[in-house]
Symmetry: C2
Subunit: 298 residues, 2 copies
C-alpha cells in the first residue's frame, strides 16, 4: 500500500530535475512511514491520499535532515546520517529543497488540508527551537516538555490524521486527537527507551538525551521525587558525558521512585484515549497501531 | 508605503506566540525590501498585496538566514549576521520558522499566487545548492552560471512581480520577465561590484566571491579570453585567499580584456528589455527602478 506513496515521492523528486536530489533522497532511510500509513488507512488508497501522504513524508524527511544538523546527530536509524556523509550544509540545503517542493505540491490538494499541514510545519519548527532552548539547562517544567513534544513530534502526526479525515469526510476532531495522542505517546516511549535500552539496540549510547541536555519525562519526574541532596547530584550530571557508575545510579533512583512506570503510564493513558476514539469510529486497524505502540518493552 | 508590509510581517511573527522569534526578527537587517516594493507598485496598496509582500519578504529573510550558514558568512549588510551572533543552529531553526509561517500564510491568498511563489522557493533552494556545487571547482560554463543566478536570486523577484500582476489582473507575462530580468541584472551587478568596489564599501574583502570559489560572469569571461598560461595562473588562484599582488593582476587582466564592461553590458541588456516592457505597460516607476539598478557605478 505504501508503494504508491514511495513512487509519488520519487516522482516529486524527479520533477526537480536535479540528479543530485535523487541521489540524496535514496540515501535517506525510509523509516516506518507511520504518517503515510495513517493517512492511507484513514482516507483509503485514493490519489489525493497518496499525494498527501507523500507530501507529509517529504516534510518529515526535511525536518529530520535539519534536526540532525541541529542535534549534531550523525546516526539515523543505525546508519550514518546525511550530515555525517555529506556535511551539514548539504543537509540544510536538501532539507530546504524537500520542504519547498512539499509546500509547492500542497497547492495541488484541498485547501483545508493544506492549511492543516502547513500549520503543523510551523509548530514543528517552533518545537525544534523549543527543544534546543529547553536543553540549555535542566528543564523541570513538565508542561514545557509536553508542549515541546507536541510541537516537535505530535503536530505532524496530528495533521496527518486530521488531513486524512478531511479528505474522506470523516469526523476530523476524533482523528486529530488520535494523531496527536499517538505522536505524544510515541515520543514519550522513545524517551523512555533512550534510558532503558542498551546502546546496541538504540544504535547510540543509552541516556544520550540526558547527556545532550534533554530532560525528558522520567528525568523531570525523578527530579520532582528527589530530595535536595539527590537533586544536586542529578543536576551535576546533566548535559555532560555520563560515567557508567552515574548512569547506574540514575537508573537505580528511577526504579526506586517508579518514574519510568509513571512516564509509561502517561503514554499509555494517551494511547487508551486514542484507542477508545477509534473504537467509536469503527477503525480497528488504527486501534491496533496505537495499541502496538505501548507494547514496545521498556 | 512599505510601513504596512512591516506591520504585517510583525503581526505574522507575533502570531507565532514565541517571544524569542520576535527578538530574532528584530535583529534581521530589513534591507531594501525591493520585492515588497515591486509588489506594491504593481498591485497597489491592497490588503492582498500587503500580505503577499510580507510573505515574500519573510521567504527572502529565511533564505538569507540559511544562505549565511551555507556560505559561512558572518556579516550581512555591514552588520553581524544572525549566525555570527547566535550560531548556525539558531539561523537554521529561525529560517525554518519564517519559511513555514510564510508558507502557511500563502493559504490565505489567491491559489495561483501561492503556486507561483512556492514554485519560486523550490528554485531558490535548488539554486543555493547549485551555487555550492558550482563553487567546488572553477566553473567556466556561462549557462550554468546564468541558470544558478536565475534560480538563486531572480526566481523570487520574478515570482513577486508575476504574483502582483495576478493580484490586480495585469498581464502576468510582461511582469514576470521584468522581475526575472531585474533579478538577474541585480545579481550580475552585485558580482561585478564584488570585484570593483573597495572592501570598505563592500563590508567584506574585495574579490571575496572568487576566494570562496565562485566564478561569476567576469571571471568566466576572463577565463574565456585568456591564453593557456594566463589561465593556469588564474585557476591556481581560485578558491583561496588572494594576495594583493594577485588581485591586482586579475584586475589588470580584466581591464585588458574588457570583461567587466562585457558583464556590465549583459546586465544592462536585461535591464533595457525590462524597461521597454514596462514602458509598454505605462509603468514609469518600474522603469525607473530598473534603470537605477544599472546606474550603480562599477
Amino acid at each position: 500500500m505504501l508503494e504508491a506513496v514511495e513512487r509519488k515521492i520519487e516522482q516529486y523528486i524527479a520533477e526537480l530535475d536535479e540528479r543530485d536530489a535523487i541521489e540524496l533522497y535514496r540515501r535517506l532511510p525510509a523509516g516506518k512511514r507511520l504518517r503515510a500509513k495513517l493517512i492511507l488507512i484513514i482516507a483509503g488508497n485514493t490519489l489525493a491520499a497518496v499525494k498527501t501522504a507523500a507530501i507529509v513524508e517529504m516534510i518529515h524527511a526535511a525536518s529530520l535532515l535539519h534536526d540532525d544538523v541541529i542535534d549534531d546527530a550523525y546516526v539515523r536509524r543505525g546508519r550514518p546520517s546525511i550530515n555525517a556523509l555529506y556535511g551539514n550544509k548539504t543537509s540544510i540545503m536538501f532539507g530546504d529543497v524537500l520542504y519547498s517542493k512539499a509546500f509547492h505540491e500542497l497547492n495541488d490538494i484541498d485547501r483545508e488540508v493544506s492549511k492543516v499541514i502547513s500549520a503543523a510545519v510551523v509548530k514543528l519548527s517552533l518545537g525544534e527551537r523549543k527543544d534546543v532552548l529547553l536543553s540549555k539547562s535542566f528543564n523541570d517544567d513538565v508542561e514545557a516538555y509536553r508542549e515541546m513534544i507536541y510541537q516537535k513530534t505530535a503536530s505532524l502526526m496530528e495533521a496527518a490524521a486530521e488531513s486524512a479525515a478531511l479528505l474522506c469526510g470523516k469526523r476530523r476532531e476524533a482523528y486529530r486527537i488520535y494523531g496527536r495522542n499517538l505522536g505524544m505517546a510515541f515520543q514519550m516511549i522513545d524517551d523512555i527507551l533512550d534510558i532503558t535500552q542498551s546502546s546496541d539496540v538504540l544504535g547510540k549510547p543509552a541516556m544520550h538525551d540526558f547527556e545532550e541536555g534533554k530532560s525528558t519525562l522520567p528525568y523531570i519526574y525523578l527530579h520532582d521525587a528527589m530530595d535536595a541532596r539527590e537533586r544536586e547530584r542529578l543536576l551535576s550530571l546533566h548535559g555532560r558525558r555520563i560515567a557508567a557508575e552515574d548512569a547506574a545510579w540514575i537508573r537505580e533512583r528511577m526504579d526506586d521512585y517508579g518514574v519510568l512506570k509513571r512516564a509509561y503510564e502517561e503514554a499509555a493513558g494517551l494511547v487508551h484515549e486514542a484507542v477508545a476514539l477509534m473504537k467509536a469510529e469503527g477503525e480497528s486497524r488504527l486501534e491496533e497501531i496505537a495499541s502496538k505502540m505501548i507494547e514496545r518493552s521498556y
